[in-house]
Chain length 245, copies 2
């Protein structure tokens, strides 16, 4: 009888602990995500708001920048648009996660629900993952303001534009490379998968949405490198001409 | 009797699994480090070899660089010495870890023993930690050759020197910031400590040895920023003078 009771109690405890751990739709199934509450808004509503806000910000940056300085080239304009949009995403969306990561799973705010939806593509955002939290905190605190500063420097044609663009774009690129790589390594070597396999979750949220922060920063790092080398070469030529004279 | 046997068997299994997991001197005690073998060389021998090799490399870089180009300033010389030493550490020491991480705990090679000694200050190097592995792989593959390329460009006074110095130093600085931050976060929030508390392990290996890769890259990023802005400003002035003429 004592044996039966103790085995029943241990089964109960085991089931209870599994129930606590598994009340969520994310992978891995045993990820510890406490106090998770299903989103109150539907996915189309969340995504329409998010992409709608991005589009409004993107387009209004274009018109404001063009109005402030009519001589901006189309290259300068699109780069400003990228840095304003990217900076606001770092500051507000990623800043929200870095601030509220510990209680995100229960949140019903717009940004809270957005993260709970995104976490289908990467559950590390809800499970106190140290790499994702630290990388996102640096991104929100440094690359967010850094993006806006770069946009302002392009408008002003400031001599600090290319070095600051380089620092910010390197931060973004290295962050996202480690973001993809750690996930791939944990899957391949440690057998832990953070993304659900559905197209929307894996391909759209995890792969495609983050890919913008590989391709565009890589191009901007290349641009900074070429423009800096060009300026240094001109100064070197100027100085050697002076010496000859 | 059956009960007694099954409980004895389960205790045996439990002890055996604990024994497999805990035959190592690292923290956390339950870190899974398989096939660990104690180092065959003593700590003074390992450290003397390592710092001796570093000193030989550092000093011979000085003499070779000075011989190749007598006009190098002391600032250029020390920067070349830093990039050659740092590049070799990335390529050989960190490249060794990135290549052999899976079997490191059993190795008795010089570099294998060096990592097993260092792991007292950070056990993540022996436990398949995805962040440390990915960051070190990027460091070995990109910042290693990048350091040597920067050293060569300083010798040649090449126009690409400052942008490449910026890319490499940003990679080093961001990597080490995330390295410290993830460890601090796992300790503060997740209650997992990777470093033994002894002065040699925590302060010397973990804090001080890595601190070189915060202070020096931060200074070199600052230098690249200032030098780039200076060159761009000169070119802007030159072009506006031309327009006026």
């Amino acid at each position: 009888m004592a044996d039966y009771l103790s085995s029943a109690a241990s089964n109960l405890a085991k089931n209870a602990s599994e129930a606590v751990q598994q009340v969520h739709p994310y992978l891995p199934k045993d990820a510890i995500i406490l106090n998770w509450a299903a989103n109150e808004w539907s996915v189309p509503v969340l995504l329409t708001y998010f992409f709608g806000l991005c589009a409004i910000l993107f387009v209004s940056t274009y018109f404001i920048a063009k109005r402030v300085d009519k001589t901006l080239t189309s290259g300068e304009l699109t780069t400003i648009m990228w840095f304003v949009l990217s900076g606001c995403i770092h500051l507000f969306l990623e800043g929200y996660y870095a601030t509220f990561y510990a209680t995100l799973a229960a949140k019903q705010t717009f940004l809270g629900q957005l993260w709970k939806e995104y976490a289908h593509g990467d559950s590390r955002y809800l499970s106190n993952n140290s790499f994702v939290l630290c990388m996102e905190t640096v991104t929100a605190v440094f690359w967010g303001p850094g993006c806006l500063a770069t946009a302002a420097m392009i408008m002003l044609r400031h001599p600090l534009r290319y070095p600051i663009q380089m620092i910010v774009s390197m931060g973004q690129l290295y962050g996202v490379i480690l973001y993809y790589a750690t996930s791939a390594f944990d899957e391949a070597v440690n057998g832990v998968t953070y993304s659900r396999p559905e197209f929307l979750y894996y391909w759209f949220y995890f792969v495609i949405m983050n890919a913008f922060w590989t391709v565009i920063p890589a191009w901007l790092i290349y641009q900074s490198t070429v423009q800096t080398a060009k300026a240094v070469r001109k100064v070197q030529q100027m100085e050697s001409t002076k010496k000859v004279l």
